[in-house]
Amino acid sequence: MSANPIQVRDLHKYFGELEVLRGIDFEVAAGEVVCVIGPSGSGKSTLLRCVNRLEEPTSGTILIEGEDITDPEANIDQLRAKIGMVFQQFNLFPHLNVLRNLTIAQRKVLGRSDDEANQVAAAMLERVGLSDKIDEFPARLSGGQQQRVAIARALCMNPDMMLFDEPTSALDPELIGEVLDVMRTLADEGMTMMVVTHEMGFAHNVADRVVFMDGGVIVEDGPPDQVLGNPQHERTRKFLRAVAQAEE
């Protein structure tokens, strides 16, 4: 078996004086679904954003399929094309319709022809169940539909792995299910996924591993049954109790 596609070693990240990540060692295996949970300000989103260098790590190394993305010589655009990313706020391009949202990076980054890009886009839209919205503009879609289009847009680049940054946190409760369904299908198909989320049900049912972060360190890392069902650390227990109370 080859080395894991995502490897993070001794990662530190400062925002000014504030140390947000205090030495993270973390890996995701091929085909593995890892959910990262933790209170806000725990550094989980920062960790995710470091993995495709939307945040510049202060120190440490991040290997994506063996390539060090913190190396200034690395071709970051090529590497990012292999890493799909889905944002909390969807971040669809509002001036482009759904089809052009899905094709622009294919054409500009992968150099695909219009025909090929259109075909891939249509196929990915079908995968997220939104073929009929191909000509719509993002503003005319519901939040759930926008997020599914955003997932399709990332899939169009044929990524080897997907990063999800709180993909359902900006959604109305009744729209969360459709997005989680798409993500569950992706997981079943064997996509390598790193998901920062507050959806404990999704983490429990879909994740292969759950990582609990607090105060810029990984506190607990293991199978969902263990981390969510039988947490070893007091901080994890406290967090899970707070989440359970909020959901009642």
Partner: protein, 270 residues
């Protein structure tokens, strides 16, 4: 119920004393004007039909045409320069940023008239070469330099008004900074700044009247210079009235358009 109380109040109370006073003043002003104005003199000096007839068709085929050409050229050149400056101002390379800041502060701080005179007379004297296009060309270049400084700030504000997530989404798909700027950020930024840019265009139409001071050949006169020359000739102010109407014919529809664009923009955002 409301209607009956209203009807019960005397009319001067309904109108209000303050409003009543304002109406009285208005009527007095109108009466004064009607009784004391010398309509014949006004007509001779501002609406002299013979002068109006003599101004056409040159006022359109030469003057208005030159004003429009000068404005469009100035706007186009200024916009390109402004885009360059706005991007320089956001550059990660210090000297580019400093140059752009210096340029913007310099040309926004100087009267446009100084820049125009400098380009038309200062440069030829200093370096012994003329900017091509004659006086009109020099005016266009001089005014472009000024307009670029103002529009650069507008464009920069537009770029900054595009949410940060747009750049992040584009970069996360593997797009380079330049591609993301060209295809994702700038199209959205320009949509945001169409109203202020149209305003800038209206300002430029009026600013081309400054060309008047650098002097022009008969064929390159714009509206203001044309009117000024004609006034000497006709010995009345009618030419000013004519070009004033022409300026308004160009600027009023544009400002109306800006209002419409701003309304639809604020509706779109909601």
């Amino acid at each position: 119920m409301v209607a009956t109380t209203r009807a019960a109040r005397p009319w001067w109370k309904r109108v209000g004393l303050g409003r009543l006073a304002m109406y009285v003043v208005l009527v007095l002003i109108v009466l004064l004007f009607v009784f004391f104005a010398d309509f014949e003199k006004i007509q001779r000096n501002f609406f002299d039909w013979e002068t109006i007839e003599r101004m056409f068709p040159d006022v359109i085929t030469i003057a208005a045409k030159n004003t429009v050409i000068a404005t469009v050229l100035t706007f186009a050149i200024g916009l390109v320069l402004a885009l360059l400056l706005a991007l320089m101002k956001r550059s990660t390379i210090g000297p580019y940023r400093w140059f752009a800041s210096g340029y913007i502060e310099l040309f926004r701080g100087l009267p446009a008239l100084i820049t125009l005179i400098l380009v038309a007379f200062g440069l030829p004297i200093a370096f012994g070469w003329d900017i091509p296009g004659g006086r009109l060309g020099q005016g266009v270049i001089g005014l472009s330099l000024v307009a670029a400084a103002y529009m650069a700030e507008t464009i920069r504000a537009g770029i900054e008004a595009v949410p940060r997530g747009q750049m992040e989404a584009a970069r996360s798909l593997g797009m380079s900074r330049a591609n993301a700027m060209a295809f994702i950020i700038l199209p959205q930024a320009f949509r945001i700044i169409i109203p202020p840019l149209t305003n800038e265009f209206v300002l430029l139409i009026k600013d081309t009247s400054l060309f008047f001071v650098i002097g022009t050949t008969p064929a390159s006169r714009e509206l203001t210079k044309f009117a000024r020359d004609f006034m000497t000739d006709a010995r009345n102010a009618t030419p000013l009235t004519v070009v004033a109407v022409l300026y308004l014919l160009i600027t009023l529809p544009l400002t109306a358009m800006v209002r419409r664009l701003e309304r639809s923009a604020s509706r779109g955002k909601r």
